[in-house]
């Protein structure tokens, strides 16, 4: 992800080579692989497990990548907001701004072979997994160039090649799917893990505990991440859960509480979780995060919480601002350079929207494609093998 993100900044010529560390336009005299140690904002809290250390190692280039990726996600979600208001996006649109640190931090700690599955607030995780901005906007607008060919919509982004399994509309149903992915990973024995993301609202679903029980029983490499943004649709967590300590809800499954607005903390926790899960089975991570928008575009987001609360979090805990401060205080780049990155990102998003708008709507015949795998896929034959009854294409 770092390479791809950094590659986007460069002119096309240098994209031919995919070097792990690409030249930054703002090179400083010290190398940008120089490790920097940062302390997370708050220490981790563990439930039946020894939490990892607060000190996270990072590099200047990684911090800049974080900044750029999160700005891109923020910009994409805000652009989606205005597209929705101009009725180019219809139906349900659940925006992720405020929670970018979880997507970016998670991605920084794993490989594309690991699997991620999430619910309907999936635009940014799709992007983090290598999703294409044009395809994302096209899918939101229901165009043929969309990542699901316009047939899925906002809640059904998938990217099979990079291990992103969606994109699910029914609250909580993705967690058993995620444990199934972990089961397959254990079956195929490739040393990969699955991260199944869900929200504080879904944490009260029974199927979650069922899946957790089975995962713990069978030692599956499944990590359940509760993105606790404190509101399940319009209901605050203290009104929905008797025990809002979601990381403790696994009972016999250990848990870790992480500041989800601190991208380095997220990265540290996920790295730790992956190592743990490969050896010991499931783990629960609770990411303490916040969404600035309402539950979806049909929800103003201010009837169940105060505007002061929203702006308070934005001022004190915003993930992008935190990384910006880190970059500035460590002299990695100047404020001007960061502003330029933001301008670039804005332009990139605008270009992508323009390109997506040009994509046509799906053809009427697309209504019937992909209902079944083509040709039903089975060859039928009789006992004497001479008589093949139906070889379907």
């Amino acid at each position: 992800m770092a390479a791809a993100a950094a590659a986007r900044r460069l002119p096309a010529a240098s994209l031919r080579q995919h070097r792990p560390l690409l030249l930054r336009p703002f090179a400083s005299s010290s190398g940008d692989q120089q490790p920097i140690t940062v302390e997370t904002s708050v220490p981790f809290t563990g439930h039946k497990i020894e939490p990892p250390s607060r000190s996270v190692e990072t590099t200047p280039s990684e911090l800049l990548t974080f900044f750029r990726d999160m700005s891109l996600m923020r910009r994409m979600e805000i652009a989606a907001d205005s597209l929705y208001k101009s009725k180019l996006i219809r139906g349900f649109c659940h925006l992720y701004d405020g929670q970018e640190a979880v997507a970016v931090g998670l991605e920084a700690s794993i490989t594309k072979k690991d699997a991620i599955i999430t619910a309907y607030r999936d635009h940014c995780i799709y992007l983090a997994r290598g999703g294409n901005l044009v395809e994302a906007f096209a899918e939101l607008m229901g165009r043929r160039a969309g990542c699901s060919k316009g047939k899925g919509g906002s809640m059904h982004f998938y990217k099979k090649e990079s291990g992103f399994f969606g994109g699910h509309g029914i609250v909580g149903a993705q967690v058993p799917l995620g444990c199934g992915l972990a089961f397959a990973q254990k079956y195929i024995k490739e040393g990969t893990v699955t991260f199944a993301l869900y929200g504080d609202g879904a944490a009260n679903q029974g199927q979650l505990f069922e899946a957790l029980n089975i995962s713990a029983l069978w030692d599956l490499p499944a990590i359940l991440i509760c993105e606790n943004n404190h509101y399940g649709m319009g209901t605050a967590e203290w009104r929905a859960a008797k025990s809002p300590a979601y990381y403790k809800r696994g009972d016999y499954v250990p848990g870790l509480k992480v500041d989800g607005m601190d991208v380095l903390a997220v990265k540290q926790a996920c790295k730790f979780a992956k190592e743990y899960a490969l050896k010991n089975g499931p783990l629960i991570l609770e990411m303490d995060t916040y969404r600035y928008h309402g539950h979806s575009m049909s929800d103003p987001g201010s009837t169940y919480r105060t505007r002061d609360e929203i702006s308070g979090v934005r001022q004190e805990r915003d993930p992008i601002e935190r990384v910006r401060k880190l970059i500035l205080s460590n002299d990695i780049a100047s404020a001007n350079e960061l502003k330029n990155i933001e301008k670039e990102v804005r332009k990139e998003v605008d270009d992508a929207i323009a390109q997506a708008k040009e994509s046509p709507m799906p053809d009427p015949s697309d209504l019937f494609t992909n209902v079944y795998v083509k040709g039903f896929g089975v060859e039928a034959f009789g006992a004497d093998r001479k008589e093949v009854k139906a070889v379907l294409p």
Partner: protein
């Protein structure tokens, strides 16, 4: 392609069957142990393998409803003797062959592993394949069905067993939204080659909650395929086909049919998931049925033959999609249709089938389509009441007499 065949057949209304079809005349063995069933394989000949030619006539077949040993003609083209087994053993054989052949096939369900399966379908598989391929799940249908679907998304081929089909109602969300729709909503990225199987139907005084017929609930889920097996022969063939299929398939078995005994071929065979089975060719009326009702129909057919009727009995097997090609050919021949099913009257397979036949074959009908289904009541415990909820052979005879008036 099957759909294309059916459409082509309908549009052209050509009398020539365009692919080689095997017509099988099966006798039935009810749950009486020890009743031997012999079957006669009749093939439409003149066909070149692997190609579609206008093969025409079939060989002479027996018009008796029940073929007994003495009736088997010398012109039988049956293959080697084969081996005899019960239906649950046939399912197990199919499952085992597929697990041998493909290491990605795994089984998950309650009590399928160490216990051997509550109906012994998976007996012995756990010791042979180990705990990772034959998985005992806790009683959590919603999540283990979801896990099966998640595993299928990566390319594994799980076979999920519901101990009783009725329990799968707890997993309905997973089956409908994830299993059926993921191929579509992901734009074709994921395929879900899962098989969901289990016994359903009205048993012997099992009570309302354990006598459910889920085919009517699942039938409108897009993206799902449904088949119902009724004999050891088609049970094994359909199980193998379902596992090999890249689509999610729900295989409906019946609690009362597990002990049916039949002789099946030794050689490997895979049946077509979308094809219906001609049980007894006839001239006067087409009786469409599936699963256990097939045996009630054949019993009624015995009475009908004695009364001079010649019913054509088709086991539709494929509940979604319907094999409108075979059904249509039959309707065009007999012009009268009776549907006998175990589903409830409201919203059952029969009502969809009736609508499909009316839509496609209205001009060929000489009488209204009759549909005999179970009563719209929860299945009672008392034996006599339970008998009255399900269609009995006497009612089938009466219905045929009424249609053929």
């Amino acid at each position: 392609m099957a759909a294309a065949l059916q459409t082509a057949a309908l549009l052209s209304a050509s009398p020539n069957p365009i692919d080689s079809r095997r017509f099988r005349l099966g006798s039935f063995a009810r749950s009486l142990p020890g009743t031997r069933a012999s079957f006669l394989v009749v093939r439409s000949d003149g066909s070149i393998p692997n190609s579609f030619t206008a093969s025409s006539r079939s060989e002479k077949f027996i018009t008796n409803a029940v073929a007994t040993k003495s009736n088997a003609p010398a012109s039988s083209t049956a293959s080697k003797p084969g081996h005899e087994l019960l239906l649950f053993e046939a399912l197990r054989e199919g499952l085992e062959e597929e697990m041998d052949r493909d290491p990605t096939v795994c089984v998950m369900g309650e009590d399928v592993g160490h216990y051997g399966g509550s109906y012994k379908v998976t007996k012995g598989l756990a010791t042979k394949y180990g705990d990772l391929r034959v998985l005992d799940t806790p009683i959590a249908e919603n999540s283990f069905t979801g896990m099966g679907i998640g595993a299928a998304m990566t390319g594994l081929r799980p076979v999920v067993e519901g101990m009783n089909m009725g329990f799968l109602l707890l997993a309905y969300n997973q089956i409908s939204n994830n299993c059926g729709m993921l191929h579509y909503t992901s734009g074709g990225q994921f395929k879900i080659p899962i098989v969901i199987r289990g016994p359903g139907g009205v048993g012997r005084q099992l009570g309302a909650e354990h006598s459910q017929r889920l085919e009517s609930y699942f039938q409108s889920i897009p993206g799902l395929q449904m088949v119902a097996c009724s004999t050891p022969y088609n049970a094994k063939g359909l199980m193998k086909a379902a596992i090999r299929s890249d689509n999610p398939v729900v295989l409906f078995e019946h609690v009362l049919l597990y002990n049916l005994k039949e002789r099946i071929p030794d050689e490997e065979y895979v049946l077509c998931l979308e094809e219906a089975e001609m049980v007894r060719p006839g001239e006067h009326v087409t009786i469409l049925t599936y699963s256990r009702m097939r045996y009630h129909v054949m019993q009624a057919a015995k009475t009908l033959v004695n009364k001079g009727y010649d019913p054509e009995v088709i086991d539709i097997r494929s509940l979604k999609p319907f094999d409108l090609y075979t059904i249509g050919k039959s309707v065009k021949k007999t012009h009268r249709v009776l549907i006998v099913e175990e589903c409830m009257r409201t919203g059952g397979i029969g009502s969809s089938l009736r609508a499909a036949i009316i839509d496609n074959f209205w001009d060929y009908l000489d009488a209204p389509i009759m549909c005999l289904s179970s009563q719209d009541v929860p299945t009672p415990y008392a034996g006599t009441l339970e008998e009255w909820t399900v269609v009995q052979p006497a009612q089938i005879v009466a219905a045929v007499e009424q249609i053929c008036k």
